[in-house]
């Protein structure tokens, strides 16, 4: 269903400012795809692009961080409230072509798409390591630990796992491919490490969007040839080396 209204089952704060929402939905989404979410009669105009964190038992799970009024209003939704969804949108990670062992690297709220991605990969018999970076408090680690063969954690504050950046824990040579989602500096660093090691790298971008369908062109990013790519339609997942992440 490309556009639908669903009823929120659960919407809870799992870490300061980070919410987990469950919505019944009959869709089949691919790992790394996203939905445009909007509260009916919201005070903000546009829906918000939120990635699929998980999909099982006929329920979609979204993990999102409150960063402004739009996400504040999503966070205020209670079980039984209505939510408008457009999606699933975008290309997603290339799990169908995966083999060997994949590293999933998430930074901050960028860990969200990695749970469903890990589960999809494992179902295909592909080995998965999760390497997750947080500022201070961690979230989704229990589920990621169950879904992945190995879970490595880094926090900038040192509160959990390795003290420092997530990239310190990534050894690309051990993997056939690396999938990453998180802040642009992290994606840039992960891409550089993978290129040096000759490991395939796929990055998922989080640009601001308006339509989510590839029409309005406000989410464009630049590739290495200086051409524009639509994050919502051509992405959100791109080969790391194809993008000019400094543009």
């Amino acid at each position: 269903m490309p556009y639908q209204t669903a009823t929120v089952d659960e919407n809870i704060e799992i870490s300061p400012g980070v919410f987990s929402m469950l919505v019944p939905c009959a869709d089949r989404a691919e790992a790394g795809q996203f939905y445009m979410l909007r509260k009916p009669r919201a005070s903000v105009l546009l829906p918000r692009p939120i990635s699929v964190c998980d999909l099982k038992g006929g329920r979609l799970r979204f993990l999102y961080q409150v960063v402004g009024r739009g996400t504040e209003e999503l966070a205020a939704l209670r079980p039984g409230d209505e939510l408008c969804l457009t999606g699933p949108l975008g290309n997603g990670f290339p799990v169908g072509q995966a083999s060997g062992k994949i590293a999933l690297v998430g930074g901050g709220i960028g860990v969200a798409p990695m749970l469903y991605t890990a589960r999809c990969l494992r179902e295909l018999g592909v080995a998965v390591d999760c390497i997750m970076g947080y500022r201070d408090s961690v979230f989704l680690t229990e589920e990621l630990g169950r879904a992945a063969g190995r879970l490595l954690i880094a926090t900038e504050s040192g509160a959990h796992g390795h003290k420092g950046l997530v990239t310190a824990l990534l050894e690309p040579r051990r993997y056939t491919a690396v999938y990453a989602c998180g802040p642009t500096p992290m994606l840039r660093a992960v891409t550089a490490l993978c290129q040096k090691a000759g490991t395939a790298v796929y990055v998922s971008l989080e640009n601001k969007m308006a339509c989510g369908l590839g029409a309005c062109l406000v989410c464009a990013c630049a590739d290495r040839q200086g051409k524009n790519r639509r994050v919502c339609k051509d992405g959100p997942v791109f080969r790391g080396e194809d993008l000019d992440l400094d543009a």
Binding site: Y3, L45, P47, G70, T86, K208, A215, C216, N228, K233
Partner: protein
């Protein structure tokens, strides 16, 4: 009950047209709605040569609106004709090609290519606020606007609608100048020149400093402009600017618009135009309006 709308010789099955820049070339929305239910689709703003558009932030949301600074990113007129037009034609909606440009020569050359293409209507965009060279400037001064309109008139034989900028010195003067220069219809308004500042970076959000404001925030001003222009010109007026509901669309029609365009609202719900259409039909039924034309300008004093 009929919503059939005639616009300078072009028959639309209803007065709802998808606004340029918000609907791609239609195909992007095909899996979300039946495109053939629409009156017409305006293409993404085209220029003679392909354009990469602007760098940096391209969008900023505001209360009840959004600003964009896409900068007319498009594949160019020739590529539009070969790659996008055939599919757009199959949509079943009237095909309107929106043409922008940086110089009069560019406009004329683009119009010449479109003259032999299978389009129903040309929408001449003299109002994009996001391109530095020309574009918006053509839409500010009536004499400059008349120059480009009459030059394009000489190169394009089909029906031509001119899209006006609300940033014009005087919207009525501008409308009269474009009508005199050969416009068969006028569409208004494009986005309002606006800006935002990033308080953390302490700099403008957009590299061009200003960007174009659209959405419900601009509707009352757009409506006032459509009312004024519809009272001053003889050619049909197409109203746009923040239309998000059937009530909004009816307001523009009652102000004198022959048709309306839906833009930013499609971002909120992809098939919102069909909701608006259903709402207009319901209004007509409830008020025993047999022909939508009975409503055109009915609120005018």
């Amino acid at each position: 009950m009929t919503l059939k709308t005639k616009l300078c010789g072009v028959t639309l099955k209803n007065p709802l047209i998808m606004a340029s820049g918000t609907f791609g070339f239609g195909a992007e929305f095909a899996e979300y709605m039946d495109l053939s239910a629409l009156g017409g689709i305006c293409s993404k703003g085209l220029t003679l040569h392909p354009k990469q558009g602007n760098y940096g932030s391209r969008m900023w949301e505001t209360p009840a609106g959004m600003m964009n600074s896409v900068g007319l990113q498009n594949p160019g007129v020739a590529c539009f004709i070969s790659d996008e037009l055939p599919r757009m034609r199959r949509s079943g909606a009237a095909v309107i090609a929106n043409l922008g440009g940086g110089t009069v020569e560019e406009y004329v050359e683009g119009a010449r290519l479109l003259d032999s293409a299978d389009i129903d209507l040309l929408e001449l965009n003299i109002s994009c606020p996001n391109v530095k060279e020309g574009g918006a400037n053509f839409g500010i001064d009536p004499e400059v606007a008349a120059g480009v309109v009459s030059a394009v008139r000489g190169a394009f034989r089909g029906p031509m609608m001119v899209k006006l900028s609300p940033n014009a010195h005087d919207i009525v003067d501008m409308a009269l100048a474009c009508e005199a220069a050969g416009a068969d219809a006028l569409s208004l308004v494009n986005t309002f020149k606006a800006m935002a500042i990033d308080i953390h970076r302490r700099g403008p959000v957009f590299r061009n400093v200003s960007a174009g404001l659209s959405g419900p925030a601009i509707k009352p001003i757009a409506l006032r402009m459509v009312y004024e222009v519809a009272g001053a010109v003889k050619v049909p007026v197409v109203g746009l600017g923040g239309i998000a509901t059937a009530t909004d669309a009816l307001e523009f029609i009652l102000a004198g618009a022959a048709a309306v365009q839906i833009g930013t609202a499609s971002f909120v719900k992809p098939d919102i135009a069909l909701d608006i259409l259903a709402g207009i039909e319901e209004y007509m039924e409830r008020n025993k309006v047999k022909d939508l034309r009975e409503l055109r300008g009915a609120a005018r004093l």
